[in-house]
Every structure is written in structure tokens, then in C-alpha cells.
Symmetry: C2
Subunit: 686 residues, 2 copies
């Protein structure tokens, strides 16, 4: 190229260069390293290389583009336009040739490494860089004089036409290759896995001719309770279908420790649970493929995130060691496996990537949250909390990231609460207590009406009012504290102390009546003092984990708090802070990240560079083991109170005033909850 | 090390260096790159590092060794000597420390890359360099403060203690690892596969503590008729057991083309044959493991050699394309596979290496012959012929190597010969015709007596005299030619022409009576003129293949001839040359290599560098396709005569004089065999 040749400027990259007249735009793009997609390699078949030429004066770019800057619309473009329709102003980059100075815009959908936009404004977009891509090649025919295998000639085509070196192929590719090459007239589309650190690139599939279909990947969040999967298009990253099922392991134990116990008590128990979860996974994949109306064998990659116990049970490693100190993981690194090794029935060569575990209690799910929320890329200090039966807590910024897990127990999931239940239609999820009457009004899942609104009865007729879910109990206790029904140490006051007969003696302590449906044969929903204790312990565990990390980081406040997990998405930041679940922070700096673990899985699925990134990040994360930190116990004892004067909550205090009541009449008994059972229990995230 | 430190000289390598007093001999060896084995890494456990110190004056080496050149015999050595016995004069290299100038001999069995001596004087020894080796390591225990997986700490131990980088592990290693590490008290023996071009090193097996046992590999020659395997010790290369079975595919067709036809005529036929051969393989492995009294799961590597059709059927590739021009192979490269992919039931992580194919008719078996006989390393010009249903022919020297295959048909295996049979007890294998009486005397397999020796009847009473095997028919026809019973063009003479009534009219032509057992109810064994035709065509195919390669090489004679294959081992060079099967060469330069393909498999099993070597060699071999070479046809026509005046056989003529007879009385009919059917038939090696 010389300066007398036409100038080609690509936008948005700004890359530019001079090219001889007649150079196809795709060729110019390749030579300049412009990210312009092509599956067919410029043969006018795939139409992935669509570009939009700009005409006229481009002052900023210093280019004036004449009407004849590109060659005329040709037959290939006309045929494509007729068959599929080319958007107005678009050209095929492999057909349009440079004839004069020109400005070429590459639209987002024509970029290989296109951005997948995430819904949350603060979240980084995902750059497409999937493990498997498709390539169209023309393969040399066999020649008796130069004998070589069909596979070797296919590999040569991939090398010469796409610079893919040293491809390998599974046996099933080999056994099917010869008829496919001949059916396609020596023109085939090949799905190629780019390879991993320990394996060369690999041919995943070969279609005769140009394959117009799509290939897919799965991002799977393998939770103890539910398994949720997103099916993604591996070329544009879009979620094609999402689906979830209950983890079939639930029949072996609701929480993780009971599953660990099951494997210890039953010979072959771990293997039984491994089988169950893999079967469940296959059922889920059937379901999601049916929903998306695709053939399951088009799923060529899958990424899994899960806590360490699920990680081991899924892999077939007995979780025995995770049940006792020093909580040794069988393996902590990320894993590149074959789907077939895990009995997963998708494409026969499909790969599986499992994110690394951070520690014995901080799993690949926490790594996925770190990938999604990227505290390690944050300027301000972020506390990321994934709330579940175990809470995984990350604290950090660009400087460093700390991680721990904390045994919150199942109270936040409605378990061990007298009227508690899972989040499901009929469960109380929002609560307000009237400052004067001290009567609770509430909303239940499935209805937008408050309980004192007209028509609430009809609106909840089908679901009923069945109990209080996790986010509901948080609001409930916080409201009770705000309105002086519960004191700082966690005692429910007597009617004469609280001024409401909603408080009533219930055994040795008082309970609070939320809803009495007994007249209509419905439930009686109350909050007992034991419920308050459970919530106190759960929130104290969460808070002391966060506080421990803050100590280790050497700070006494955080800039922002991210609540991850389905549960986190429903928590009211104000009530969580009133309860002392999370450290003091401006309310608008407490945000929900939704299923961040699932999102992390999707990022790792769509962008293989993100895999290396999170592997490096996990390596750098400082792990804190709460079980052996004396300060954790100390924080736990201090944190069991519902904030009054023990901890400084200046921001909280500027929002609400917590009444300075104390219902302990000196009778001892169940008066102080501090430290009760805390730290001795070790439960897992559900 | 300084020059004032003691001097250590290793023999036989001659490597030398100065080391501080107190340096263990093993350490000195490692630093100098001396090939001294150790599995335990110098912990005094494995005793693989035995060395023999030399004392006194070593004039040539310029060293005088005092009695105190090494530290005294220590407790570890004493204990080992007591438990197992240390050969006189031996020390453990990891225990004996350098105290003064010393000469250390490393005996062959203490070398990692020891030589495995081959029986034939002219054959190169095999250098041990197997794919899988064992390493003893001490693994760091888990630590809550520095969480990491057990696998990662094992990998770290392999890196730090053995410099093995980036090991990977199959899932079954992961699922079993934790209890093994604890059982071994964090000391384990690990079998590691060194990896391939497309895969990182891999942990194959982990044993608790120090594993004293052995691991094994299989060298398998997968023939169309028989499958033969050698079980080898992967540390010293010795053949522990050898076994063979009939290829179960025989029920689908005796020769390869009938199997190709079977797959074309029967839907699923190829898959059926694939299943059959893999089942047969497993039966063979059971048999060989039982014979060696080892656990089959200790077999961690296997090398296969086979012709292209067997190659494809074993892999599960339909051999359809090999049945027609351009004889395109599905794949021609060497293959690194998992035994499990091929349904082979040995170690769950066992690997399979299949040698590269040279061309559509010249398979991995020919590559194995090339590896074993190494024409590419020969100073003189060697013709290597592997005789079977198809003959694979290699011609070359250091300069270049040519290869082709030639459709000899099954005559050399006794098929299509009226009294022909496979080589088995009772088959005639050696023949002499009396110059005067023209009566044949012979030996049968299973007896050392000639048929006219006393006691021959008793000696062959159990086997009987059942027919003529391949090597027998060659000697028979050659003897008939030498003694004027057959003329150059291949006609058997009438009694009046040959002077013996052993010749008799048999339809339109004459036959020769070899053995008439009918009086005792035994067989009548004759050679018909059609038998002569079959042998003529077979030998013409072989000869013209060799001749074609000689043309391409630009030579008219070869320096030596190597007959490979079980059949080749039984051929009499003189008779083969009389027949015109092989080019003229000094008789002592015609040698048998035995089962060279099987030996090649064994070399590739024991020495992974030999794999790269043969891959490079195969790449360099010039392939000649006989089917499309006009000169092949021409040679074939010329070669169908049994040598008289057509071809120059000066060496042969100096040994025997072939009578210049011509029995064609001008009656036409079956008189001339030249070119009959030649080249149109395409048969495969059996």
C-alpha cells in the first residue's frame, strides 16, 4: 500500500490505511486488524461481514468520500439482498471493493468480539470471545499421487484459510468425516474449540457445505436447592432460554451439611448424590433445549458455578474432607473437562469449564460473583455479599480483594423461623408496622396490594397467606425494632412495655401477632422471640464476616454494598441496615446484583479471556477462614444485638432513630442472645 | 564446585565434575546430566539409583580412587541389603556421598534410558523412553490459612521434586485422590504420562506410599487374520508375555476386500466389525494379563500397528473409501487416543498410540516395519518387503525411502492354491525335488523329518499331511522350475517332456503329484497348473512393486533384501529368488526380520522419541501408487514368467542353472500367463 492508494478509515475503531484499488473491504479490515466477522472467509456466503460505508465529508477524519468510493453493488450482494434482505446502506465487506478514499463503519453485529450489554447500568458489558467458533473451509480433494488423510487435508484448510494450527479431532469426528466432506463437495463448516492451556484446538463438529444454524453454550448455576441454566447463542451471546429445576439431591438432605453427613453415613452415598445431580442436570438440559426448540447436540460448551460441596458432589469427589478442618478441597483450580466425563448428554465433544474455588468454604460460585461484580476492578471499596445458607463475602478494590464465608444458617431462607417459608406465592415479603397502633401491614408474593388495602382478601384468595419468607422476616424484625416492639438485645416487649396487645405471652417469652386468619380457618402468623434469635444469629454471622474482612483490610467503613443472589435482590437495604446485617453505608450505595453467580457463569461462557482473568483474580484473593479467626467470634458476640449503641451506624442513624428501649426486666433466662451457638455452627449456602 | 573439590567421573558416559565433599552421588549425577534412575528422588526408598564405585588407579581417566572416596555404607543401605540384597560392590547413589576423587559406574539397569537389546545382530537396540513413568513425591498437607486443593499440592510436589510442569488429571484421579493422599501419609507414587504434542502431561495413577509394583504397555500388531500382542514392562522394556488370537472379523470375510464389501452391502456392517475387533482385543488383553498374572488396569499405554483397512475398522471409520480410487484415508497421521474411546478395557486413563499410515494401501504396519528396519538409516540400499495378501514394499537408504504396496493376493498364504492351507501343523513347508527321479521330498510343520526319512509316518501320524503352506508352495514351484518340471512361462510339462509320471494330465493341463496318501485314506496333494498361475501372479505383483521402486530410485539392483512378516521368516531366499519373487541379490544379503511390524510397535511403545521419528520418516517417504503407474503393469507382464532370459539375474545364475525348457506345444489355450488379471485385482495383506 502506498499513500497514493485510496485511504480506508474504519469506524468505530479509527483504524486506517491505504489500499490498492480493488481491495475488498474485508481484506483491508483483516490487514488492519479491524474486528470484522466472517465465517465463510470472504466467499460471499455467510453475510457476517456487513459494513456501512459513509459518504460525503468527514471533517474529523480528514476524509471526503465520493459516491464511487466502493465498487458497485454486485451479483452476490444482489442475490443475498433478494433472499434475505440487506439493511439499507449496508454492503457485504467481502464483495465491496475499495475504489477511492472511504469511511467504513463496522456495525456491532458484524464484530466478532461484539459487546453483550448487561441490563444493570453499573455492570461491565461482556466481550464476545467464546471457546467455539465456526469456520467455513474448502478442502483439497484426495490425490492418489500425494496420499494424505481427509482429516489432514481438513486441518490444512483450517491452517491455510484460518491460521488455526494443530487442530485435533475426537474419534466421532473421524468416523463421520469422510461422507460429510463428500456430501459437501469438499466444502464444509467446522466448529472449532480454540483449545485450553493443556489441550490443542479441536474440531468439535463438521457440517457439509455452509451451516447456517447456530451453536450454543450453557451457563449453569448449580445451587444446593436449585439448578438454574441459561442457554446462550455462542455467536452473539444472547440468552435464548433460561430454565431451572430443584436440585434432586434435596432428597438426601435440605442443606449441604446433611448431604455431607449422608455421604459419611451411607456407603456409596456420595456416588448416589453425584448420579442424582447429573441426572437432574440432563433433565434440565432437555427442558431448556425443548424450550428453545433446539437440538441438544448443538450445545458445545457449558460453564458451571457452584459451592465447594456441590462442586465435589457434581465431580464425583466425596465431600467428606469439606466437612471437617482443614476443609481441604480435592481440587481448587478451574477445570476443563468433557461433558461426557460428567455424563452430560449434550454434544459428544462438548466441553465443560468449572470456575476455580476460592477456598474450602468459598466456592466457584463466589468466584463467579467476583467475575460478575469485579471488586478487583473497583475504584471504591466494595463489599459484595452473596446471601444464602452460607454467605460468601468479598471485600475489595483495585488494590486487593479479601474473601470469606460465614455460616448464616437457613434463617434467611425462612427455615427455622416459626412462620417461615421459602419465597413462594402467599409468603409475606414486605412489612410496615404502624407507628401508633403497632399493627403490621404487609404484602405477599403474588399480589401488589397491602394487607389493609381493599380487595386484598380476594387478591390472595388462591395463594392464601402462608408464612413469611426471608426478605419478609428481615423487614418484619427491623420494623419491630424501629417501632419499639423489640429492643436492642432482641427481646420482644410485653403489651404493657410496647403498648400493643399484638404482643402476647407465648411460653416464657412474648411473641408478636402478625396475622390471625384462624377465624376463616387460615393460619396464625406470629413472630416468636426464638425467631428473633435466629435472625439475630444469622445477621450477626453475616455482619461479623463483613466486619472481619474490614478489619483485615484496615477500614471501618465501605463505600458500597452489593447484595448478590436471588435473595439479595429482594432485601430492603434500609431494613437490612436497621437489623445490622450489613455495615453502615449510604442507602443508594446498597444495590442488588441479582444472580451474580449465574451472570459470572455466563461471562465465563461467552468470553474465554474472562476465564483466565478470574483464575488470576482468585489466585490473588486473600482468603480468610472465619472458623479460626478469634476476631470473628468477637464480632459475632458484639453483632448479635440489633444496633443501638454498640456499633457506630452514623448513616443509619441519620435515617431512622431506633427507640432506646430495654425489655429485660432482670429475670435472666432468654434475656441475652449474644454469642449463642455462633461460630460453632457451620452451615452452607443453599 | 571448585577444582579443589573431589573429582567425580561417571562411566560409561565419561561425564565428570568437581563436587564438594558430602555431595550424594545421585546429586552429582543429576547435576552432570548423567542418566541415573530414581523413582523416590533420593530418599533411599526405591533403590533404582544403584551404582558401582571403582577403586584404585584409572590411568585413562587420570584418576586414582582411594578406599575412602565415598562415605561409609550407611543404615539405609544396610537395611536395603538386608531386606532385598544389594549386589556385591554396589552402593545406593542417593546414600553414598562423595568424599574424594572417585569413578562411578552406572550399570545398565540403573539407567532411565537403558537399552533394550534386540535379538537380531543387525537390529538397533531400543532406547527406553516410555510415555509413562513413576515418581515418588511428598505432598504438602492442607492448611486452612492457605487454602488450596489436594490436586494442586500434588501438582506442586511434582513440579518442585521432579520438574514436571502443568500436570493434568482425569476425573477418576480427582475422585480418588483425597483418601489416597491421607492413606499414604501425604507420600504417594504417581504414574505420569509425559504428554503429547496436543496434550499436557497427565497423572495416570496415584498409589499411597511407595509403589513397588510395575506398570505395563502393550504392543499390538492388528492383522487381518491374527491379532498379536506383546505385554512389556514399561521400566525395563522386557516382554513379559506375548499372545495372539484370530481376528474375530474373519467371520465377515477372510480377506480385507471382502470386509470392505461386507460394510458396503450391510447397513451398520462397519460398526459391527468395529465392535468385533474391539471385543477380540479385550479378550486378547484378558488372556495376556492372565498369562502374565498381572492386573489389567496396570496397562497404561498401548501401541497399535495395522493395515489401513484394519486401522479404519478399529477406529470405527467405514473403510468404504479405501475400496475405490483415490483410496482416501480418513486420517493418515499418527493418533494419540484414549483406550476408553476405543472401548478397550485396561487402565481407565490408558493411552493408545497408532502409528501413521503411509498411504491408502500402505498402513501403519508398514510404518512400523520402517521403524524397525530403518531403511532411512541404512548406508546400503535396502529393499524391505512385508509379504502378505498385500505386500508392503520399502526401498531406500539414508538418502531417501520409497514405499508402495502391491496386490499379491492370498496365494502366499496358501489360499487359492488347490492343496494350499495356512501355516499349521501338517502343512508342507520345505520341499526338495530329486534331480533324477523328479520325486518331491518334503517336511511338514511339526516334524523335523523329511518325508523319505525313516519314522516320518509315525512322526506325522497325529498331524497328518494336510496341504501346502505359503513357504512350501514357493519352494515347491521353485524346485519344479529348477528340475525342469515347469518351464519359464509357467507350464507344467507332460510326463514325456519332464521324464516323470509324477506329471499327469489333469483336465486340459498337467499337474504334479506331490503326495498320494489315498491308499491310507489320506489326502492327495498335487500342484496344478492353475496353482502355478496363482503363484506367478502373486510373485509378479511383488516383484513388479519392488522393480517399480527401483526404477523410481534409479537403480537396477539392491544391496540387500529384508523379508518381514511371519511368512517372510519362513521363506527360503534361494527359492524366492529362483521364483523371481525378489530382485537378484547375494543370498547372504537376503535376511528375515521376523514380525518387524510387531517389533516396530514395541519400539514405539518403549521409546516415545521413536514416535516422533517415524512420524517424520513417514512424512519424508515417497509414496508410489502402483494402481496408476503404467510401469507397474509393464513390469507385471514381464515378471509373470519364472526367470529364464527375460530379466537379468546374474547372482541367481551363478547359483543355479534353470533348464531352458518350453512345454508350450503351440496348442494355445492356457499357454501364456503373462499379465493375466494382473493389476486389475486389488487385494489386501492378510
Amino acid at each position: 500500500m502506498s499513500n497514493e492508494d485510496p485511504l480506508v478509515v474504519f469506524t468505530p475503531s479509527g483504524k486506517r490505511g491505504h489500499f490498492p484499488k480493488g481491495t475488498p473491504v474485508l481484506t483491508a479490515a483483516r490487514q488492519l486488524g479491524v474486528d470484522l466477522d466472517s465465517v465463510c472467509g470472504g466467499r460471499g456466503i455467510c453475510s457476517k461481514c456487513q459494513i456501512t460505508p459513509g459518504y460525503g465529508e468527514f471533517a474529523k477524519l480528514g476524509v471526503t468520500v465520493g459516491d464511487d468510493a466502493l465498487s458497485e453493488w454486485n451479483k452476490v450482494e444482489a442475490r443475498y439482498d433478494e433472499k434475505r434482505g440487506l439493511k439499507k446502506g449496508r454492503r457485504l465487506g467481502c464483495q465491496a471493493k475499495v475504489m477511492g478514499d472511504v469511511v467504513i463503519d463496522v456495525p456491532a453485529e458484524s464484530q466478532v468480539h461484539k459487546q453483550v450489554v448487561r441490563k444493570r447500568a453499573e455492570a461491565r458489558d461482556i466481550t464476545m470471545n467464546p471457546s467455539v467458533r465456526m469456520y467455513y473451509v474448502e478442502v483439497q480433494e484426495p490425490d492418489m499421487h500425494e496420499p494424505s488423510g481427509d482429516l489432514e487435508r481438513l486441518a490444512k484448510a483450517l491452517l491455510e484459510q484460518w491460521q488455526i494450527e494443530d487442530v485435533t479431532a475426537d474419534l466421532h469426528i473421524l468416523t463421520g468425516l469422510q461422507p460429510i466432506l463428500r456430501k459437501g463437495g469438499w466444502k464444509v463448516t467446522v466448529a472449532v474449540h480454540k483449545g485450553t492451556d493443556d489441550h490443542a484446538p479441536q474440531i468439535m463438529h463438521v457440517w457439509p457445505g455452509y451451516y447456517e444454524g447456530k451453536i450454543y453454550g450453557l451457563a449453569v448455576d448449580l445451587g444446593s436447592t436449585t439448578i438454574a441454566a441459561h442457554l446462550c447463542d455462542l455467536s452473539d451471546g444472547q440468552v435464548v432460554a433460561s430454565s431451572g429445576i430443584m436440585n434432586p439431591q434435596i432428597r438426601f438432605g435440605e442443606d449441604l451439611m446433611s448431604r455431607v453427613s449422608y455421604s459419611m453415613m451411607n456407603k456409596g452415598g456420595a456416588a448416589e448424590m453425584t448420579r442424582a445431580v447429573r441426572e437432574g442436570m440432563n433433565a434440565l438440559f432437555d427442558q431448556i433445549a425443548e424450550e428453545a426448540e433446539i437440538d441438544k447436540t448443538l450445545i458445545m460448551d457449558a460453564v458451571f458455578v457452584c459451592n465447594p460441596v456441590m462442586h465435589h458432589l457434581f465431580l464425583g469427589i466425596d465431600p467428606f474432607e469439606l466437612g471437617q478442618a482443614p476443609f481441604a478441597l480435592g481440587t481448587s483450580s478451574s477445570l476443563n473437562l468433557r461433558a461426557a466425563e460428567l455424563d452430560l448428554d449434550i454434544h459428544p465433544s462438548a466441553r465443560v469449564y468449572i470456575l476455580p474455588c476460592i477456598a474450602g468454604h468459598v466456592g466457584a460460585d463466589a468466584a463467579a460473583v467476583a467475575l460478575s461484580e469485579a471488586p478487583d476492578k473497583s475504584d471504591d471499596l466494595a463489599l459484595v455479599v452473596d446471601v444464602g445458607t452460607n454467605a460468601e463475602i468479598l471485600l475489595g478494590n483495585k488494590e486487593k480483594v479479601l474473601a470469606c464465608s460465614s455460616p448464616t444458617g437457613p434463617a434467611f431462607e425462612g427455615a427455622q423461623i416459626s412462620s417461615g417459608q421459602r419465597a413462594a406465592p402467599g409468603a409475606i415479603e414486605r412489612v410496615e408496622i404502624d407507628p401508633v397502633t403497632k399493627v403490621a401491614r404487609f404484602k405477599v408474593i403474588g399480589s401488589d396490594l397491602w394487607s389493609d388495602d381493599d380487595g386484598f382478601g380476594e387478591a390472595t384468595a388462591t395463594t392464601g397467606i402462608t408464612g413469611i419468607c426471608g426478605s419478609g422476616i428481615i423487614e418484619m424484625v427491623a420494623e419491630m425494632r424501629i417501632h419499639g416492639i423489640v429492643d436492642g438485645p432482641g427481646l420482644i416487649g410485653a403489651p404493657e412495655q410496647t403498648g400493643t396487645d399484638k404482643c402476647f405471652l407465648d411460653g416464657r417469652t412474648y411473641s408478636y401477632m402478625v396475622w390471625d386468619g384462624s377465624a376463616e380457618g387460615g393460619p396464625v402468623i406470629t413472630v416468636t422471640n426464638r425467631d428473633i434469635r435466629e435472625i439475630q444469629m444469622a445477621k450477626a454471622a453475616l455482619y461479623s464476616g463483613a466486619r472481619l474482612l474490614m478489619d483485615k483490610f484496615g477500614v471501618d467503613h465501605v463505600d458500597r454494598v452489593v447484595l448478590a443472589g436471588a435473595f439479595g435482590a429482594h432485601i430492603s437495604p434500609k431494613h437490612a441496615m436497621v437489623l445490622g446485617m450489613i455495615p453502615d453505608a449510604p442507602l443508594d450505595k446498597v444495590t442488588s446484583a441479582g444472580n451474580a453467580a449465574g451472570t459470572g457463569a455466563r461471562i465465563a461462557l461467552l468470553n474465554t479471556e474472562a476465564r483466565s482473568e478470574i483464575e488470576a483474580t482468585v489466585h490473588e484473593i486473600h482468603k480468610i477462614e472465619t472458623a479460626i479467626e478469634p476476631r470473628f467470634q468477637e464480632h459475632f458476640v458484639n453483632a448479635s444485638n440489633i444496633p443501638n449503641s454498640v456499633e457506630p451506624f452514623p448513616i443509619l442513624r441519620s435515617i431512622v432513630t431506633l427507640p432506646d428501649v430495654n425489655f429485660n426486666t432482670g429475670g435472666g433466662g432468654d434475656g441475652g442472645a449474644g454469642g449463642e451457638g455462633g461460630g460453632r455452627r457451620r452451615r452452607r449456602r443453599g
